[in-house]
């Protein structure tokens, strides 16, 4: 308590806050766990071919496995956030890693497709949900000035690991058939447990204050507690709702090129290899974009929210330009626009999460991220089938890309309605409002306890 760095009222994140030290170790842990979650999810295509042959199901039925897994990951994100608020992040991440591995290990014994939905979809998806949001929130809490760069570096693992995992999984399937390969993948996923063990637990200071001293274990009190863990009160705050809406709109259009670019290139008359190269090129600039935008954002020349709006708007524009560029039949134009799109889409991913603590404050970030993941995922679920439907109706991809490109632009416009958007400096991050706001004494004690986490991590960084 002797080391309260600054006056709580005029706290600005530039002055206090951890940056580096143990944070870099956590960043490495996030790198590994993100690649084992999303990189693994993206490379499951190798297994789907085997499943189609073994179970004699259509490839559409088999692709539901990864849809279920992704949906479960996003659906259980608020649960993961709430559990971190209730207990500690280390326990949650280690449990999540164990569940993710368990799901894959059980999947190796599957005898029908339904087993795979349950194990690879639900159980592993639950595990991934318990892993991703807590780890991201923990890393973000451990960086302040270099937060965006840290996120950019961590998320670049997704692209890099998909490059590495595809041939690796192919090799595993050739050596051990899909059962053995899934078993080994389950083992690899258990490494997330080791990543989770690296989290140094810090107590959640607000939790004791939230619990009424004379708490009756009645439904109302329990619900109050649960809603505070889930940060449901955020849903009533305009800045957060605005931001979530903007990100959801972005999500609706964001995935369309990943699903339809190859088909569109083939339809425009390019060969299979050319179409695949376009995707790979976009993927490569995606990785580059994440890291560069993270580094650039931390130079603090511009506000994060402005940079995010810029990348989002550009991404929307480039999505719209994609069908236009191939209209003229020029392969170079298509490749260039895809490269630019890849860069912008990677750039905005680094920033999308980094803006959240600026809106809701570092303490509520965990729950905020969980809710954000859940809400944005539903928009993502709607966006891709819509573009497919447009393609079926009109016969080509022009309409679907146009509509898909308009979603991020709408998102940018929504972001512009955030409070203090047009000012040149960031507004001060919001103070934590406790539910019983009357007690000023309790409030000031809260402020002092808020500084504790930074103390803890500073000491552990020594």
């Amino acid at each position: 308590m002797t080391k309260v760095k600054s006056n709580p009222e005029s706290r600005s994140e530039e002055v206090e806050g951890p940056d580096g030290g143990w944070g870099w170790v956590l960043l490495a842990a996030l790198f590994v766990s993100t690649s084992l979650v999303f990189g693994l999810m993206r490379s499951l295509g190798v297994f789907f071919v085997e499943f189609v042959q073994y179970f004699e199901e259509s490839s559409q039925a088999v692709s539901w496995i990864s849809s279920t897994g992704l949906a479960a990951q996003q659906f259980f994100s608020p649960l993961g956030a709430a559990l971190c608020n209730a207990y500690n992040a280390r326990l949650v991440v280690m449990t999540g890693g164990f569940l993710a591995g368990l799901g894959l290990i059980l999947a190796s014994q599957a005898t029908c497709l339904a087993h795979l939905y349950l194990t690879m979809g639900v159980i592993s998806g639950l595990g991934w949900g318990l892993v991703f949001t807590p780890m991201v929130a923990t890393v973000m809490a451990n960086f302040t000035r270099r937060r965006t760069l840290a996120l950019g570096l961590a998320f670049s693992s997704i692209g890099l690991s998909s490059f590495a995992f595809n041939p690796l999984f192919q090799l595993l399937v050739e050596m051990y058939a899909w059962r053995g390969a899934l078993l080994i993948l389950g083992g690899l996923s258990l490494n997330i447990v080791a990543c989770g063990a690296l989290i140094r637990p810090k107590q959640r200071s607000e939790a004791p204050a939230k619990v009424d001293p004379d708490s009756r274990s009645s439904c109302v009190a329990q619900l109050q507690r649960v809603s505070s863990y889930l940060e449901l009160s955020l849903l009533f705050e305009r800045p957060y709702v605005t931001y979530t809406l903007a990100i959801s709109l972005l999500n609706a259009g964001y995935f369309v090129p990943y699903f339809h670019l190859v088909a569109h290139s083939r339809q425009a008359g390019f060969s299979e290899y050319q179409a695949a190269f376009v995707m790979s090129a976009a993927g490569a600039t995606d990785i580059l974009g994440r890291v560069v935008s993270g580094w650039f954002a931390d130079l603090r020349h511009f506000r994060l929210i402005h940079l995010l709006s810029l990348w989002t708007a550009l991404a929307g524009v480039f999505i719209m330009l994609l069908p236009v560029s191939s209209l003229s039949g020029s392969y170079v134009a298509l490749v260039v626009i895809s490269l630019l799109y890849g860069f912008c889409s990677g750039a905005l991913t680094s920033l999308a999460f980094a803006v959240v603590p600026l809106i809701v404050g570092v303490e509520r970030m965990m729950g905020a991220l969980g809710l954000l993941q859940l809400i944005e995922s539903s928009a993502g679920l709607l966006g891709t089938p819509l573009s497919g439907l447009l393609k079926d109706i009109t016969g080509n991809y022009m309409a679907s890309f146009m509509v898909a490109g308009s979603f991020p632009i709408l998102g940018t416009l929504t972001m512009a309605t955030l409070p203090h958007y047009f000012s040149c400096t960031d507004p001060p991050p919001p103070q934590r409002r406790s539910l019983d706001d009357k007690d000023k004494g309790l409030n000031s004690e809260l402020e002092q306890m808020n500084s504790l986490p930074s103390d803890t991590s500073n000491r552990s960084a020594e």
Binding site: V193, A197, P201, Q203
Partner: protein
């Protein structure tokens, strides 16, 4: 019967198409056919050679009396008489040598072959006096996609081996499956072991399902597409492994994870113990931290404790 009419008409169509590109000269046979006249269908294939050699592949489905005709424009010598003969699979066919006249600017030789069964298929060549050669490769429709990597399966599991005939090629009458048992290909009969094997034939595709795999089931399996003229084969290797195989790398990885987690937790405990023994500037809060630091190893019950405090 309609199937074979389809095949005959497709053969004639093939011939007509080849006529667009190749000069055909049908001259009367210079020699009586080698085989006795049987009620087989007849077919003619003619090639004109402009260079030194040419190879022509022919897919045969049904037995046929096939007339192969070779025409050669000759070289600069333009001898009036040269010897021509036929070869099958590299060996000269008996009594096929004859003298060929240089007539209308070309040498012409033709022969009727009775292609009835599999041993009649092969590489037939007409040779003009050791200089020019036209080869006709007669074969039944080959199975296109062959899987070069072995199929891996586990003991007790079922393995599915499939073979497919291209859509462009004629449909086989039926499919047979064979197993290589070290010396020869042995046909698999489902009736002999109905619980072990299952063969499902569906026109162009065939599936062999082997249930209750044992390690003895490993080996080469052949699927044969049966046509009236013969059977074409394609092979796939099946490898049966026990679950021990992937279990070994799996156990290695699990051990590695356990070691890592233990190392991380022990390191953390030793770090916090160091801070405890350092003992300078410890405030009451830091003393509160220490038991928490120790309790971290016991899976996070610390925060629970903290809340009760």
């Amino acid at each position: 019967m309609s199937a074979s009419w389809k095949q005959l008409s497709s053969q004639i169509l093939l011939l007509l198409i080849s006529c667009r590109h190749i000069n055909t000269k049908t001259s009367s046979p210079t020699q009586p056919p080698l085989a006795p006249i049987t009620p087989l269908k007849t077919d003619v294939r003619s090639i004109v050679l402009k260079g030194e050699s040419h190879t022509e592949k022919m897919e045969l489905v049904n037995p046929v009396n096939l007339t192969l005709e070779c025409t050669w424009t000759g070289n600069q010598n333009k001898l009036p008489n040269i010897t021509g003969y036929w070869r099958k699979d590299g060996e000269e066919i008996q009594n096929s040598r004859l003298s060929v006249q240089f007539h209308n600017g070309q040498y012409n030789i033709q022969q009727v072959f009775s292609i009835v069964s599999e041993e009649n298929l092969g590489n037939y060549s007409c040779v003009f006096g050791n200089e020019a050669k036209i080869s006709f490769i007669l074969e039944a429709p080959q199975i296109g996609e062959e899987r070069d990597k072995p199929i891996i399966s586990y003991v007790g599991d079922s393995a599915v081996i499939t073979c497919k005939m291209d859509d462009a090629k004629p449909m086989p009458n039926t499919w047979n499956w064979y197993r290589y048992n070290g010396t020869e290909k042995e046909q698999i009969f489902v009736a002999a072991e109905p619980h072990h094997y299952e063969i499902i034939n569906k026109e162009r595709k065939t599936r062999l399902v082997v249930h209750n795999l044992t390690e003895a089931d490993s080996g080469l399996y052949y699927c044969g597409a049966v046509y009236a003229i013969g059977t074409t084969m394609s092979h796939v290797e099946l490898k049966v492994i026990t679950f021990m195989e992937p279990l070994k790398p799996f156990i290695t990885i699990v051990v590695e994870v356990v070691v890592l987690v233990a190392a991380i937790l022990l390191y953390e405990r030793s770090q916090s113990k160091k801070k405890a023994t350092a003992g300078d500037g410890t405030t009451a809060d830091q003393k509160n931290m220490l038991p928490q630091g120790d309790d971290n190893a016991t899976e996070g019950s610390s925060s629970m404790r903290q809340r009760k405090v």
